[in-house]
């Protein structure tokens, strides 16, 4: 174990038990003891009033001989139907900052799509774009994506490789990390460089957003992470910016999966939940599936997307892809408007990192008000139509 309890010092006060996020401290015969769940986070050490919990000497993991041979920051620019996804520009924003911090180049990797899109990536901050126009990339298949990215990383040795924490990024990036025998941190909300070691500090929520963890990958390269969409700021767009587009060979790519059909699901609101600036969500308090017409009207007016609580999905009022929360999507828009959602923890963990939360609920005691920036207590069927009317008036005046 990386952490042990000195049984002579331990008084059995149980102070340490609640400090462990991993349930790794248990009482055995009146003394605390560390079990297999221990993740070496060291949270317990300072909790012990007796100083009985100590860090054992860490076994040095088998790492790379020369991690300093790895140079450069890469971002994976995902595309859907040929169009580069918005998260790619956010990755260029954070990637540029990290590259400047360690004095290195920023490159983007683009599979499929068009050369004009590759050029756009340069204008958004990339120094180089590794580009393949192989037709195998028309649809998303994990294997060829993973094969080509892996071989490019092995050839060029970047020290940091980032992708969006999207359906695509979270699906194929793990294969790349597995094959390269390196670390991958999921769904980061903040990234920084430790300038002394050039280590990437990867910060991400865990336990349903209840805690944040800083993850390091000190002995392996590249350091890989997926980054939550809509968290990082885009860089500066410069139309005159120049860079190289490097056409990469993609011989022998294979896929054992085959996409037979791609179905875009027509939705009342076509904006993707995880990319929306504004989300209007409805819950059980709507009382009726028709309530979502009102929600959709407000969302459309604000140029936002429609979300929902699990209760509304389980009642069959709205499809699952709208569900926000622990078993649905995690979102962080600029404005989240919760209508008739009481705010069960499972819902809160999916939206509590939104910039501004507006809660509309009849019950002033509803837990949603605990995370709300602005709370409106009342009938949503009175409040939402008023909002629609007044926003329309404002828009009418300002145009």
């Amino acid at each position: 174990m990386p952490v042990i309890v000195n049984p002579e010092k331990c008084k059995g006060c149980e102070e340490c038990l609640s400090s462990c996020p991993f349930e790794a401290l248990v009482m055995k015969e009146g003394k605390a003891s560390v079990n297999e769940y221990c993740q070496a986070c060291m949270a317990c050490i300072s909790m012990c009033p007796e100083g009985a919990i100590i860090e054992t000497e860490r076994e040095v993991p088998i790492g790379l001989d020369d991690i300093h041979a790895y140079k450069g920051v890469w971002i994976f620019a995902e595309q859907r139907g040929g169009k580069v996804a918005p998260v790619a520009y956010e990755l260029l924003g954070i990637g540029r900052r990290l590259a400047d911090d360690i004095g290195t180049d920023l490159s983007a990797v683009l599979f499929g799509s068009r050369q004009s899109e590759a050029r756009e990536l340069i204008r958004w901050g990339a120094d180089k774009v590794y580009y393949s126009s192989d037709p195998i990339f028309e649809h998303f298949h994990d294997e060829p994506y993973a094969q080509l990215l892996t071989s490019q990383i092995m050839e060029h040795h970047p020290e940091i490789v980032l992708a969006g924490a999207t359906f695509i990024g979270r699906s194929f990036f793990p294969r790349v990390a597995a094959r390269l025998r390196t670390g991958l941190t999921a769904d980061c909300t903040s990234l920084a460089i430790d300038k002394e070691t050039r280590n990437l500090l990867q910060i991400r929520p865990a336990f349903g957003g209840n805690i944040m963890a800083t993850i390091l990958c000190p002995n392996y390269r590249p350091q890989m992470a997926t980054v939550r969409p809509r968290v990082m700021k885009r860089g500066r767009y410069d139309e005159s910016r120049n860079g190289d587009i490097i056409h990469i060979k993609s011989d022998g790519l294979q896929s054992r999966t085959k996409v037979l059909q791609t179905v875009k699901e027509a939705s009342d609101c076509m904006i993707n939940l995880q990319e929306a600036d504004i989300i209007v969500s409805g819950g059980r308090g709507l009382g009726d599936p028709k309530g979502f017409q009102l929600i959709a009207e407000l969302a459309e007016l604000l140029g936002g997307a429609v979300g929902s609580s699990r209760a509304a999905v389980d009642s069959g009022w709205i499809p699952y892809r709208h569900q926000v929360g622990q078993t649905g999507k995690t979102v962080c828009p600029k404005v989240y408007i919760a209508c008739g959602i009481s705010g069960a923890v499972q819902h809160l963990v999916g939206m509590q990192s939104s910039d501004i939360i507006i809660a509309i609920n009849k019950n002033p005691e509803a837990p949603i008000f605990n995370v709300a920036t602005y709370g409106l207590v009342g009938d949503l069927y009175e409040i939402v139509p008023l909002m629609i009317k007044k926003i329309k008036e404002t828009k009418g005046l300002s145009t």
């Binding site: 359906f167 094959r179 941190t185 409106l376």
Partner: protein, 260 residues
């Protein structure tokens, strides 16, 4: 056909609360459950078993008490449970976890491997795809519907950001599933009896013939540097007055922060 379902015993994160004074998690009285997404993976495995002639083997890695999760799975209809438990596995990140699982799956021999899309304690969604890579088999993430299964192939619907793909794969394959896929069944009386009697296989490092350098904390490329509590939200404001006054106040606030 061997169907392996990978499950994880997790604390019910919805029950986890923060001690406001120390900023640490309060875990007392927080129940351990089977990761909710894994319940859908198990249900999918049981449904496939009913369609083709197969066996469902549930596999978990964890401390000895994770055995209860395997018994729960057997009570729902799984045929067999295997517990990977060894001090050498402690502190595994997703790389080492996937490596360990893949070694066990190689030993079992599987045609279809099913995982939940992610575990609710770590939320990484990485162990499924990484395991598929170690096994050198294809995987399909975010499966929301099983369309067709034959002895050599499978066709499913894969959830994507803007809709879904109909996608097929050769077998063996690894699937990660979303909750939309199915409604997990309840344990039957017969299942509960079977769960009581079932003999859970316990495998250690030696049983899967893995190199210690690839396991646990030692085999994990990532390290948890520290853990902290997110900043509490501030600036909470309950608006007052009639609905109209509240709406006016809200719109004024929003204009102030340039949100409308």
């Amino acid at each position: 056909m061997n169907i392996v379902v990978c499950i994880k015993q997790v604390p019910d994160t919805a029950e986890v609360k923060i001690n406001p004074e120390t900023g640490t998690l309060i875990r007392e009285g927080v129940p351990s459950i089977i990761n909710p997404f894994d319940m859908h993976a198990l249900e999918a495995g049981l449904q496939i078993k009913e369609r083709v002639n197969g066996r469902v083997i549930v596999l978990t890695m964890g401390p000895p008490q994770a055995e209860t999760a395997l018994r729960d799975a057997i009570s729902m209809g799984a045929d067999e449970g295997i517990l990977l438990s060894d001090r050498a596995f402690a502190g595994s990140d997703t790389w080492a976890t996937s490596f360990t699982l893949s070694k066990a799956i190689q030993k079992i021999g599987a045609d279809i491997i099913i995982c939940g899309k992610q575990a609710i304690d770590g939320d990484t969604a990485q162990v499924g795809p990484e395991t598929a890579e170690f096994l050198n088999i294809p995987h399909i993430s975010y499966v929301r519907k099983l369309e067709e299964i034959t002895d050599t192939s499978i066709r499913v619907q894969r959830l994507m950001d803007d809709g879904y793909d109909v996608i097929e794969s050769t077998l063996p394959v690894l699937l990660t599933v979303v909750k939309e896929l199915n409604e997990p069944r309840l344990p039957s009386l017969k299942g509960k009896m079977a769960a009581k009697k079932a003999e859970i296989k316990k495998w250690s490092r030696a049983d899967i013939m893995a190199d210690e350098n690839d396991l646990g904390l030692k085999g994990s490329p990532t390290q948890v540097k520290n853990i902290f509590t997110p900043d509490a939200r501030s600036g909470r404001k309950i608006l007052e007055g009639t609905p109209e006054e509240q709406v006016d106040a809200l719109l004024l606030e929003l204009r102030g922060v340039k949100c409308l």
